[in-house]
């Protein structure tokens, strides 16, 4: 087991807020550069793609929390909600950029794009599925929904797969970058299949698991 120096409990709240603040840095700096004409070439596309790739990165980070706890006994679950919500906000900004800056709110064309173009349909489906997850990412909803909350939030697996697929299908040639994202998402999803057996095995061999250890 990796032993990280534990963060004192009194800083837990502040560290989550620091994550939110840090998480919005790429979007804010990208918007500033784009608005002031400092993004090279096709500024709107650059910004749109920046938001999309960060959305996918935050989704992946959200899905990493559980395997990190399983494999290394490091419990970062307090950051998972922030990572998930950052993913939601980046997808929302990605779609808004497409809608407002790229398409000038040309709704007939936007609707046609979503209906006709499979990669946009898949991306849009991912965004729609993220909405209920974002709306229920609070303590009240968790208490209120009980076990249904867990079932609902398993949608994130479908959303992450949709995100990786949307990215790969949007480019002219699927290259190493897209393959890496697909591989990482696949590995994280496959881990969910093996996880129950892995944890059972570890309970059997190592006795008490490293669950709940503060990092």
């Amino acid at each position: 087991m990796i032993a990280l120096p534990a963060l004192p409990r009194k800083y837990h709240g502040a560290s989550v807020w620091a994550l939110y603040a840090l998480g919005f840095v790429p979007a804010i700096s990208g918007f500033y550069l784009g608005a002031t004409g400092q993004l090279p070439g096709n500024a709107i596309k650059e910004f749109e793609h920046l938001l999309g790739i960060w959305a996918l990165r935050f989704l992946i980070a959200t899905l990493c929390i559980t395997p990190i706890r399983d494999l290394f006994g490091i419990n970062w679950i307090r950051y998972r909600r922030a990572l998930g919500l950052l993913a939601f906000w980046y997808v929302a900004m990605h779609f808004s950029t497409y809608m407002i800056l790229d398409k000038y709110l040309d709704f007939p064309q936007i609707v046609a794009d979503i209906a006709k173009r499979p990669f946009i349909t898949i991306g849009m489906a991912g965004f729609v599925m993220l909405i209920p997850l974002a709306l229920t990412s609070n303590n009240w909803s968790i208490r209120r929904l009980g076990p249904r909350w867990n079932r609902l939030h398993k949608l994130v697996y479908v959303i992450a797969a949709a995100g990786a697929l949307h990215f790969a299908m949007s480019v002219k040639v699927v290259g190493p970058e897209q393959m890496i994202y697909i591989a990482v998402v696949t590995a994280l999803l496959v881990w969910r299949l093996f996880r129950p057996r892995f944890n059972q095995w570890r309970r059997g061999t190592a006795g008490r698991p490293g669950m709940g250890r503060a990092a």
Binding site: G34, A35, G41, K45, K116, R117
Partner: protein, 313 residues
């Protein structure tokens, strides 16, 4: 007694009047451009060309965008890759082999190409990815090169081929190859002979930077940009429609003709509008309608009379 005649001044020596009248801003722009060229590390050198009738009312795309936002997969698939990865490419010496169905097959050295009557032509460039630029090319009609090799009556198409140099073009080496090499393109012979079709050897008053297809590339302004094959080493006259790289890669997305057509969508995006590069970041109002044949319909539509342009996209 014979009258004294002053020696004739070559057309290329005469400064066009609008440039003369605006000489101060011209000198400023040239100095700025030279600094930019020095900074970007390209091999571009001054190149003289006569003014031509091919001008546009639209402002030209800033040179920094023309030379830093490129699709040239031989140097990588990112838009900034060609400018970043092409410094080791050697565009001189260079020869183009012209062969196939011609009476006089021959090789042209770069010096032969630079000795052709060069003109500056400002054309719109519409990428298949729904963005566009306005670029002051320097070049000469492809037809004048074809005339020198005398195509046979049986020739119907012109095939083009890009150089393969994995040691100088990082996109051509390594595990991941985005496209099969060499990059190949083709035109119907009448398209190739059309006065708008040029071989370009320069832009913005200088020889082509490596990232723009040095030392010689094709420019066909009414077609999507990927038809403008770069760093050409071979031209073959043939009677069969030649294979073209993007068509081989995805036949349902990229056709042989690839004429700019706002009415025929790419399967993954609309071609109805385009984003003009270099117009002031997010709020420059750069989204504009795409024109049939990229605005050159008057000159070229007749080439396709009676053809179904949705089927022959």
């Amino acid at each position: 007694m014979t009258a004294y005649r002053p020696p004739r001044i070559a057309a290329t020596e005469i400064t066009p009047e609008p440039i003369f009248l605006n000489r101060r801003s011209f000198i400023g722009a040239t100095a700025g451009g030279l600094l930019a060229a020095g900074a970007s590390g390209s091999h571009a050198a001054e190149l003289k060309a006569a003014a031509s009738a091919f001008k546009l009312d639209e402002p030209t795309t800033p040179e920094k965008d023309v030379t830093n936002y490129n699709n040239f997969y031989e140097f990588g698939t990112g838009k900034a890759d060609p400018a970043a990865n092409s410094a080791d490419f050697k565009p001189t010496p260079w020869t183009i082999k012209v062969e196939g169905m011609v009476s006089k097959p021959r090789e042209f050295g770069l010096e032969d190409l630079l000795a052709m009557p060069l003109e500056e032509r400002t054309y719109r460039m519409r990428c298949v990815e729904a963005w566009s630029m306005v670029i002051p090319w320097i070049g000469f009609p492809l037809a004048s090169l074809l005339d020198k090799v005398e195509p046979l009556g049986s020739a119907k198409y012109v095939a083009f081929e890009t150089v393969v140099r994995p040691e100088q073009m990082p996109g051509q080496s390594g595990y991941f190859q985005p496209l099969p090499w060499p990059y190949v393109e083709g035109l119907r012979l009448d398209e190739a002979r059309h006065p708008l079709t040029i071989l370009s050897v320069g832009l913005y008053g200088r020889t082509l930077p490596n990232q723009n297809g040095a030392p010689v590339r094709l420019v066909v302004p009414w077609k999507y940009g990927f038809k403008g094959i770069k760093s050409i080493v071979k031209i073959t006259l043939t009677d069969k429609q030649p294979p073209t790289t993007w068509n081989l890669s995805a036949a349902n997305e990229y056709g042989f003709y690839a004429n700019v057509n706002p009415a025929v969508d790419h399967p993954r995006w609309s071609q109805a509008t385009e984003n003009r590069i270099g117009e002031g970041g997010f709020f420059g109002g750069s989204r504009r309608d795409t024109l049939p044949f990229n605005g050159y319909g008057e000159e070229v539509a007749s080439l396709y009379a009676g053809m179904d342009l949705a089927a022959n996209f």
